[in-house]
């Protein structure tokens, strides 16, 4: 599967919390311009993989290559400067700060001009008009869906090439979840943004993604295009019909 054009390549990645090994040698590639879905049950290690790419927890073995550069040992706060952005699990917006400040926080850590920031802000508003309406409100007063939009918008403010999304549909009404997925698709098609999306909502995620990986107990067990994976009987049994997520 490894291709020389991979934007992000993960080889044999291992990570653990104390004695508990959460990642047991993960291999994964994301090519520029792709949406890649990572699906799996609770505790499979999906979020850990995403966090490890960001350097917290540190990888115990293996390698993470971004644009061909080894970032396995790069400090967490510097990874964001490489134009990788993350929208963490559970949204984690800043509740007492206004929507404006939340978005500004996304831009603060990166060096960009005022004009660039303004352009990005307008782009975020085009994608999520609700955020413009709520601009002066405190983040904590937003609804769950709006908070998710804010979390993604905040990540976009750093003008990333690669966006890591952890469970963007968690706890959202189906209609709102659809809006979020539509926005991700738009970002990918119009802005050429590369996306790694971690989801329990396998149906949605695989329909959205170009390619998908299935993770079980810290290992990638299946890989293929989104459409292929959707047809696999074991996927249907484990994540679609059995779980009834979608």
């Amino acid at each position: 599967m490894t291709s020389p054009t991979a934007l992000l390549a993960v080889h044999g990645l291992r990570a653990s919390y104390g004695k508990i090994e959460a990642l047991k040698g993960v291999d994964l590639d994301i090519n520029a311009g792709e949406i890649v879905a990572l699906i799996g049950a609770n505790g499979a290690g999906k979020s850990t993989l995403m966090m490890t790419i960001f350097g917290k927890p540190r990888a115990r073995a293996g390698q993470i290559l971004y644009e061909g550069r080894d970032i396995t040992e790069v400090p967490t706060h510097e990874i964001a400067h490489l134009r990788i952005a993350q929208s963490p699990e559970g949204r984690r917006i800043f509740p007492r700060m206004s929507v404006a400040e939340n978005l500004q926080m996304g831009a603060d850590a990166t060096e960009c001009t005022d004009a660039e920031r303004e352009t990005t802000l307008q782009r975020v508003f085009t994608l999520f008009p609700r955020l413009k309406e709520r601009y002066g409100q405190r983040g904590g007063t937003l609804s769950g869906g709006e908070q998710q939009m804010l979390a993604i918008g905040r990540a976009l403010m750093s003008r990333p090439r690669l966006l890591l999304l952890d469970e963007p549909s968690l706890g959202l009404a189906p209609l709102i979840a659809r809006q979020i997925f539509d926005a991700i698709r738009t970002l990918n098609r119009q802005d050429g943004l590369t996306v790694l999306i971690v989801e329990q909502n396998a149906n949605h995620a695989l329909k959205l993604a170009h390619r998908g990986y299935v993770m079980v107990n810290g290992l990638i067990t299946l890989a293929g295009t989104g459409a292929e994976l959707l047809q696999r009987p074991e996927i249907r049994a484990a994540y679609l019909e059995g779980g009834r997520h979608g």
Partner: protein, 439 residues
């Protein structure tokens, strides 16, 4: 016009509940006081047990509790916690927002005029200086606790470092106050970073314990390092500050003599007053400026969510250390001022009680609110003096006042936080802001 009627309706429907609460409280008081107060026992002249009853006192206590809980409940319904703003009639609300807009400038103008108005009243001037010292300490600690959300119970350590830095540099090397002041700030900031490093991974309760210990360590080192600090005897005859080189005394080249006016000891007090006012305003100004910069926003974001901060590429290590260092620096300035004002310092001035007092000022004022901290410093330090006539009941009244404030204003006197980022076209969002109650 609708709101007051809703309000009365709510109070009316609440009367049975109100009486029930009051009865329950009175009953608890009855059970407690009937033995604690009602029966008094003492050893008689032959060693036998004598007792007598004081049921009259019990009855009055229970009645006080009954009445008190009704008043408390009513006040609670009127003022309500910060979430229940809609209970307040619109007239009061607009009055409050008017007050909110002009309170800070009015307070500042009044403060500037204090030495003019109370020129002959030395006691009030001294008290004002004390209040301003605590305003400054509160604003300094506000950076650490209010903005960065790092619970610091050992803030007095930096106050002590600042005070001893000035005292020792001035007495040993004869350096002037204006050279020592920045040095005291730098040294305190250095100790802030030193404390910051080991506690980088800690949050909340754990951080509080370590900072508490740090405050005690500094105090114990000062007590035991006798050669340098004089131990429990402290440092005495610390030089008074000069007006940029011109001493404020009764000598021939003193300020009074140079200006050709009659010398008065009040000159020095007034000078000290304006000095601490300037230092406090500097603290305030720097904090307000920093809040609008990325570093200030990062402090607040750190208080809200550390994981999200890291995901956004914020270096949490430097963010925490700068918060500690900035807060400590202002504590150091305040300490240097304290030393020059007192002329004598000893470890007794830097006990945990001071840390607790400053922290209480910040929490009561509303974490992160500059005006709130200033008001609560005024209430805590000024109010404490106000109750001096109550003698031994002073602490009791004081404690009750603190409990009441926390019941009615759980987020502090001023719990509202002003945002620091606006759209370029401010008018485009004005209606949203009003809807949210920010107008």
């Amino acid at each position: 016009m609708k709101t007051p009627s809703i309000n009365t309706a709510k109070t009316a429907s609440g009367i049975p509940a109100l009486l029930k609460t009051a009865c329950v409280n009175a009953l608890i008081a009855l059970v407690l006081f009937s033995l604690m107060v009602g029966v008094r026992t003492e050893a008689g002249s032959d060693g036998q047990l004598t007792y007598w009853t004081r049921f009259g006192d019990v009855a009055s206590l229970v009645a006080a509790v009954f009445g008190g809980s009704i008043v408390l409940e009513l006040l609670k319904q009127w003022i309500g916690p910060t979430g229940a703003e809609k209970l307040v009639p619109p007239a009061v609300q607009s009055g409050m927002s008017f007050l909110g807009r002009y309170l800070a400038p009015a307070l500042l103008i009044f403060t500037l005029l204090v030495p003019v108005i109370f020129y002959d009243q030395r006691y009030i001037l001294d008290l004002a200086i004390l209040v301003l010292t605590y305003v400054m300490l509160g604003w300094g600690l506000n950076v650490v606790v209010g903005l960065a959300g790092l619970l610091d119970l050992g803030y007095v350590a930096f106050y002590a470092v600042g005070a001893y830095s000035y005292a020792l540099l001035a007495t040993n090397f004869g350096w002037s106050f204006w050279i020592c002041l920045p040095l005291a700030g730098v040294l305190a900031a250095f100790w802030g970073v030193l404390l910051g490093f080991p506690v980088l991974r800690l949050r909340g309760d754990y951080l509080a314990i370590v900072t508490l210990a740090f405050g005690e360590i500094i105090r114990l080192v000062i007590i035991n390092w006798q050669d340098l600090t004089g131990g429990p005897n402290g440092v005495s005859s610390i030089p008074r500050p000069s007006f940029f080189g011109i001493p404020l005394d009764n000598s021939d080249n003193g300020l009074a003599a140079r200006l050709g006016i009659e010398y008065s000891p009040t000159h020095r007090i007034v000078f000290l007053f304006y000095l601490i006012l300037a230092l406090a305003l500097l603290t305030n100004w720097v904090t307000i400026r920093l809040r609008r910069l990325p570093i200030g926003r990062a402090w607040e974001a750190l208080r809200e969510d550390e994981v999200a901060c890291r995901a956004l590429g914020i270096n949490t290590t430097t963010t925490k250390l700068t918060a500690f260092a900035t807060g400590a620096m202002f504590g150091g300035f305040a300490g240097a001022f304290f030393a020059t004002r007192q002329g004598f310092i000893s470890p007794e001035s830097f006990t945990f009680q001071e840390s607790a007092l400053v922290l209480a000022i910040v929490v009561l004022g509303g974490m992160g609110s500059q005006l709130g901290v200033a008001l609560s410093a005024l209430a805590m330090i000024g109010g404490f003096e106000l109750f001096r006539s109550l003698e031994s009941y002073r602490m009791l009244v004081f404690g009750m006042a603190m409990v009441l404030i926390m019941i009615w204003r759980p987020r502090g006197l001023i719990g509202h936080r002003a945002p620091t980022v606006y759209l370029t076209k401010a008018h485009a969002i004005s209606s949203d802001l009003v809807k949210e109650g920010h107008g």
